[in-house]
């Protein structure tokens, strides 16, 4: 049933300090709204149980992409459209651009934000696998101060995050890598546009003298959180890719992911596709 909109409070403060003050004074009362592409869907479906929201749309300090020497810093309210069109992100962080291009439609990409995607904490979100591969960190701010935390480990369970009730996610930073990593991103959904992922994978590897010296593998829609396949990564470090190695990696991956049956797919299909995508990524490293 459709929501009764007069029952929802939504305010749009024009300064960050105002937002942080409200979060500090009444922790848990206010939920933040970024692009609204998920919250407004819940509203229409009558499933938005929280009633008081703060829009961060007017906070300009949360927007924009800034390239420093060691990091590229992406404001939490940066949209998918802005991400995919940014030249430095295109050349150094192509997986994030691919994820941005494959999220929803152009209309969704014009509204959906990177910070919103993280805090919405869907295990099927498309940009988090790329963020994990790039060793991203997120900046949390509150009236108590600001802190950077590694994105890996930020989600602790389904829709659970290491974030206090008075905190706001202000920015995401991506360390710029000196060496050339080979990169891979693939999303499998019902169709190319608009679909929510059945399985999504991002991978990056540094191959030196024919062997993998470092590797990152991250997947969406195969566990309660978007996850790094740390065991699979460990088993591949220092190894040269052969068919035997790929077969073993498929086995390790099966042990560390935990896909489920739901409306979008089945556990069995997700497992098989995740293994196939891993194989596709690893096969490309030998080229």
């Amino acid at each position: 049933m459709r929501a009764y909109v007069p029952a929802y409070d939504l305010r749009a403060p024009s300064s960050l300090s105002e937002v942080l003050a409200l979060l500090a004074r009444e922790p848990g009362t206010w939920q933040l709204m970024a692009g609204g592409t998920d919250l407004m869907v819940l509203l229409e479906a009558g499933k938005l149980s929280h009633k008081r929201f703060l829009s961060v749309a007017k906070l300009d300090d949360l927007r924009g992409i800034e390239a420093a020497r060691e990091f590229v810093i992406v404001g939490a309210m940066t949209t998918y459209t802005e991400i995919q069109n940014h030249p430095i992100l295109q050349s150094e962080f192509p997986l994030l651009c691919s994820a941005a291009r494959e999220t929803g439609s152009i209309a969704t990409q014009n509204r959906g934000t990177l910070g919103g995607n993280i805090v919405n904490a869907s295990p099927a979100a498309d940009s988090p696998p790329a963020l994990l591969v790039y060793d991203a960190e997120v900046e949390l701010v509150s009236e108590r101060g600001a802190r950077w935390v590694p994105y890996h480990g930020f989600h602790t369970g389904y829709k659970k995050m290491q974030m206090a009730a008075d905190e706001l996610l202000r920015a995401i930073r991506l360390p710029r890598r000196a060496k050339k990593w080979l990169q891979f991103y693939r999303k499998v959904g019902t169709r190319r546009a608009q679909a929510i992922s059945k399985v999504c994978i991002a991978g990056a590897a540094l191959v030196e003298n024919g062997a993998i010296s470092d590797i990152r593998i991250a997947l969406g829609s195969v566990a309660p959180v978007v996850m790094r396949a740390v065991k699979t990564e460990t088993s591949l470090r220092g190894v040269s890719i052969t068919p035997t190695v790929i077969e073993a990696a498929r086995g390790t991956l099966a042990q560390e992911i935990a896909p489920i049956d739901d409306i979008r797919s089945t556990a069995r299909y997700r497992l098989r596709v995740a293994q196939n995508l891993l194989q596709e990524f690893l096969s490309q490293l030998t080229k």
């Binding site: 939504l10 749009a12 609204g36 869907v41 008081r52 439609s105 969704t108 509204r111």
Partner: protein
């Protein structure tokens, strides 16, 4: 159900004209346009950002108006399907849709025209893949899409034809 908030006053430009409305901050912009401003050209399809029937241009960018809370329309520049033609003069996309039979039942058509117009504003000469991508957020259950695709190709020709030759 209890009311938590009172109506707010929002002011914006819609199709070049200053407009205002008294509405709830979480009301969908789609409903404000249709019910408060009586601009019923914008349609509701799915109500969950999947079908594109409610597409409008918000500050120049295509968005689904069913996913925009009214408070964000305050101060915004909005273009709806009613603002695509200049008076009686249809734009190239609208002419091409007529010429190519790009509409059947018509529910998706305003959104398709907005999406195609937004595409041609970004890429005046899109390739086939760009046209498909530009329309990917808009669903049509009648045409099978071929005539809509053909209409966008035709719209590119029409907008090129009317341009002055020398530059």
């Amino acid at each position: 159900m209890s009311e938590l908030v009172s109506r707010i006053h929002i002011q914006c430009r819609v199709n070049g004209e200053p407009r205002h409305a008294e509405t709830f901050p979480m009301a969908r912009l789609l409903d404000v346009l249709r019910e408060e401003l009586r601009l019923t050209g914008t349609k509701e399809g799915c109500g969950e950002g999947e079908c594109g029937a409610c597409s409008i241009l918000l500050n120049g960018a295509i968005v689904n108006s069913c996913l925009i809370p009214a408070i964000e329309a305050d101060g915004a520049d909005i273009r709806t399907i009613e603002g695509i033609a200049s008076g009686d003069q249809l734009n190239a996309v609208q002419k091409a849709f007529l010429e190519c039979g790009g509409a059947q039942c018509g529910i998706c058509t305003p959104g398709m025209v907005i999406a195609a117009t937004a595409l041609l504003e970004r890429h005046p000469h899109p390739n086939d893949a760009e046209i498909r991508e530009g329309l990917a957020g808009n669903l049509c259950r009648c045409t099978g899409y071929q005539k809509i695709f053909a209409a966008v190709v035709r719209a590119c020709e029409l907008s090129t034809e009317k341009k002055p030759v020398s530059r």
